[in-house]
């Protein structure tokens, strides 16, 4: 085996800062790219929004919601809606890369692979938050419920983060299979159950004005979940995309 000169072997950055800078630049580039593309085509957002509204509509018929029942069920309906609409966004986001070989384009770049993951994940999170920001007022209007409690917004942020963290990772796995779109919900939903439970419980807590002590364990659970899975995704993403 040829021995390369020691100096050339060490392709390591001399200091941490340029590395971080490049990481953030890559992140920014990918997020900007996703936002710009979406602004032009509006495919993703419109699909997610329409789907979300349809789900709420179906719930209206599926569950007989008098004013009383609505109070207890709102949190659940909202999160089910977000979960389903979310899969559409996740699927489309990855499919866009895979279809034109763009994922290879990203992998060819001399960037940290995890930067690609974070870029896509943050992009997905932004889209999900946009959809949620539209659905909340829509729901409020349709059902005369006041949803503008600051605590609720925190729950939505934490819950969506956990969902998107796992969802982005899984969509990069699912996109490699034959059954792509169909497979993502099957893979995703059992894994994000803790998020769903905690988010629904915490949301309900805030909506019903419960004591913060009751809500706190759920928020903690969300936080723990988010941290664990973001860390896991960071470590594992390289293996998902390598060939």
């Amino acid at each position: 085996m040829e021995l390369l000169p020691k100096a050339e072997n060490r392709v390591r950055r001399k200091s941490l800062m340029p590395g971080v800078g490049q990481f953030l630049r890559t992140l920014g580039a990918i997020i900007w790219k996703d936002l710009a593309t979406e602004l032009r085509s509006r495919e993703l957002l419109s699909a997610m929004l329409v789907f979300a509204l349809l789900v709420i509509l179906i719930f209206n018929f599926a569950l007989e919601l008098d004013a009383q029942a609505r109070a207890t069920v709102t949190a659940g309906v909202l999160w089910v809606t977000f979960a389903f609409a979310g899969t559409i966004g996740l699927n489309r986001s990855m499919a866009m890369e895979k279809d034109r070989g763009c994922l290879d384009g990203l992998l060819l770049a001399p960037v940290d692979r995890s930067a690609i993951y974070f870029g896509k994940a943050i992009g997905n999170l932004i889209f999900m938050l946009i959809v949620e920001a539209i659905i909340l007022p829509a729901y409020s209007v349709l059902y005369s419920v006041n949803l503008f409690k600051p605590g609720l917004l925190l729950v939505i942020l934490l819950g969506s983060t956990g969902y998107v963290a796992v969802g982005t990772l899984l969509s990069s796995m699912a996109v490699q299979t034959r059954t792509r779109d169909v497979l993502l919900p099957i893979l995703l939903f059992p894994l994000v159950i803790p998020v769903m439970i905690a988010a629904v419980k915490a949301s309900m807590g805030y909506l019903q004005g419960s004591d913060i002590l009751d809500i706190r364990p759920w928020l903690n659970l969300l936080l723990v979940y988010d941290v664990i899975f973001i860390a896991a995704a960071f470590m594992v993403f390289d293996y998902v995309v390598e060939e």
């Binding site: 059992p190 803790p194 060939e243």
Partner: protein
């Protein structure tokens, strides 16, 4: 292909013996429970089955990590073997739990934490199989399977905790609050012994089946290699 190792044969015999003894203990050694009668005997195997069911993801996560770090496909065989076995065992656990529920509370299914968690884990196993099935390249299949196993393993405790914080009617035999749990009972010494012995027996069954399944996997790989050789 090596012929069956001596140790495996011994393990087979030991496992079989343990099982026979365990069955004997369940029916003859353990006393009849006052409130529930014969139905309570399901309990011994039910919990042991669930225990084995949980092992699946533990073993698969470890072998998954091994696969990712070492890159040797042999780790993959262990992973899928573990999940296959646990899938079946957990299914048995759920069914036996259902029988228990019928005998104790009169319903076939209850949405309580343990049963619900079991159902979710079962679905995770199923998702694992579906994921693997969709990937052509064997190396990629192994790698992606390993990652999903690791993710599942991380999520199961969180799932369990989150469901647990709900109210439960599942008997909390070992551990906390018997106050809110109907259908729980104090275990006498003999019951405890039978229970522990069942756990031991089923652990042996798991190990035995795992070994057999891994051998089967290796045999499949060898056969495939030979087949490809003759084709070329």
């Amino acid at each position: 292909m090596q012929s069956k190792p001596r140790l495996l044969t011994i393990l087979d015999i030991v496992t079989l013996l343990l099982f026979v003894v365990a069955v004997g203990m369940v029916f003859f050694y353990a006393p009849l429970e006052a409130v529930m009668g014969q139905v309570q005997r399901v309990f011994y195997f039910h919990v042991a089955n669930a225990w084995v069911g949980m092992l699946g993801f533990l073993v698969a996560a470890i072998s998954g990590a091994g696969l990712l770090i070492k890159g040797d496909p042999k780790w993959d065989i262990a992973g899928i073997a573990a999940i296959e076995i646990s899938f079946v065992f957990f299914f048995i656990a759920i069914v036996s739990g259902s029988i228990w529920a019928r005998g104790t509370w009169g319903t076939w299914w209850t949405w309580d934490p343990r049963l619900t968690s079991a159902a979710i884990v079962e679905l995770l196993y199923a998702a694992y199989f579906m994921l693997r099935q969709g990937i052509e390249d064997p190396d990629r299949r192994a790698r992606i399977g390993a990652i999903y196993a690791i993710l599942s393993f991380l999520s199961v405790p969180l799932t369990f905790i989150s469901i647990r914080i709900f109210r439960t009617i599942h008997p909390v035999i070992i551990g906390s609050g018997a106050a809110t749990a109907q259908g729980s009972f104090d275990m006498t010494t003999k019951m405890l012994q039978t229970f522990m012995f069942s756990l031991l027996t089923f652990s042996f069954i798991f190990a035995d089946l795992l070994w057999h399944r891994i051998r089967l996997g290796r045999l499949a790989v060898e056969t495939e290699t030979l087949r490809l050789k003759t084709l070329q």
